[in-house]
Symmetry: C2
Subunit: 262 residues, 2 copies
């Protein structure tokens, strides 16, 4: 079977945020979207109409002629879903941060990973050109082909092994999900006191931009960094109605103090 060196056609399994944004980007690059299969057939029909492709009912019906089958399904489904795909010439790649490449079923001869390191939301536009793509392939030719494809969408493409990708996913959860939880905590406290959360937005943005120029360790400021026990005590008092947040405040503060003063 001849190796595929250039992806000209793609089929999707899944039609969520990742699939939707990638499909739009592929379309803009004149990469043909052939088929889509989803757990819910009406989602597939929807997606098919939008990207002018064919909705299929069963994974076994995915065309044997497509270059790439992209699994945009929840992490835990990569293994089951890939197990139902008929082996063919297509590269089968998943887009998960945490799943090892080998979660893709053993019976498929060409496996890979095509993981865009970003958070995707339904109604927010995505500029793929700045999004790092983490690529893996079970053969050099496959990772090269996926790398070439990723470079059509983005300026930053890196070769990342499954264990490395798991660490990127873990830390992505920290800087995205956990950071957002801190925003939520702040917003809850301010709302309860009728103070406008948007007052914090310039600070939030500056915090994110600052570490493009300096390391987080150097960028650290604030009462814990200064070991300013007076302010820390005042803050903990202000949190007396939020015992869980008090605990979190104490834990993070302790870590910063340990890091910078021990």
């Amino acid at each position: 079977m001849k190796e595929i060196t250039e992806i000209q056609s793609v089929s999707f399994v899944g039609s969520g945020n990742v699939a939707t944004h990638l499909a739009a980007a592929f379309k803009a690059e004149n990469i043909r979207i052939v088929e889509v299969d989803c757990l819910h057939h009406d989602h597939a029909v929807d997606f098919a109409q939008r990207y002018n492709c064919r909705p299929v009912d069963r994974l076994q019906q995915l065309s044997a002629e497509v270059d790439l089958i992209l699994l945009c399904v929840p992490d835990q489904q990569v293994s089951v879903v890939s197990g139902q795909i008929s082996p063919g010439r297509a590269i089968v790649a998943h887009t998960s941060g945490i799943e090892p490449m080998n979660s893709i079923s053993e019976h498929l001869p060409r496996k890979g990973v095509f993981y865009p390191l970003q958070t995707f939301s339904k109604n927010r536009e995505v500029d793929f050109s700045v999004i790092p793509f983490c690529i893996e392939g079970d053969r050099k030719e496959i990772s090269e082909t996926l790398t070439t494809l990723a470079y059509r969408l983005s300026n930053r493409v890196v070769s990342v092994s499954s264990p490395e990708r798991a660490l990127l996913h873990l830390t992505a959860v920290m800087v995205n999900n956990f950071t957002n939880m801190l925003y939520g905590m702040a917003s809850e406290i301010l709302e309860k006191n009728h103070i406008d959360f948007s007052l914090l937005q310039p600070l939030i943005l500056e915090t994110a931009l600052k570490i493009e120029e300096m390391k987080p360790f150097e960028a650290q400021t604030g009462p814990a960094r200064r070991k300013d026990e007076n302010t820390i005590r005042l803050h903990l008092e202000l949190l007396k109605d939020f015992p869980h947040y008090q605990q979190l405040y104490q834990l993070i503060t302790d870590r910063i103090i340990k890091k910078h003063h021990e």
Copy 2:
């Protein structure tokens, strides 16, 4: 004594990041910088040269003719420092997030707060026009005068009481210092494994930008949001060499799960 309705001249106490950035902004607005006093006289001399003003040795020497004396000193020093200023016509305002206005010594007849809600770093330029200024005055005329001054630097000026400002300061610590600590945690884990932290930067920026359009609660995604116990378990395993981070991971994850699933 006639009320000051327009600030045309300012003296600084302190010459750190806040003083430096404010002085530059005042200068650009043709507001005269008259004097500076610091704990370290050579810092005062330095600052004086840069902003073409007079370094003074003792707080008592601050001119009686200046419109505004701005205290840019560590929070705990507001009270002591202001106690040494001779009462005069000047408004004396501090720039602290956490100190109540009344930390300014009782013997001074015109007190206020001029608090820019942002993190300032030595070598990063500041665009004051987008930074919210939180203003307080112990008389209506004083808060009006400080508000007018703030509007010369910024498009966003709000009247904020001392207790409200303390909550803004607390939540600023969360979204800035604590968020930066999460960045540091991610950077440490990746560096230890020779993975480039800058791969996370587009995600960090998007996380910050996203909440300009949606509430943090709605923007929440990730394994804890989905209650995806499999991924959470994998992440906790990856953190086995970082017990403190494991604890933090667990605590934040529990909060997100409680918030979204209970």
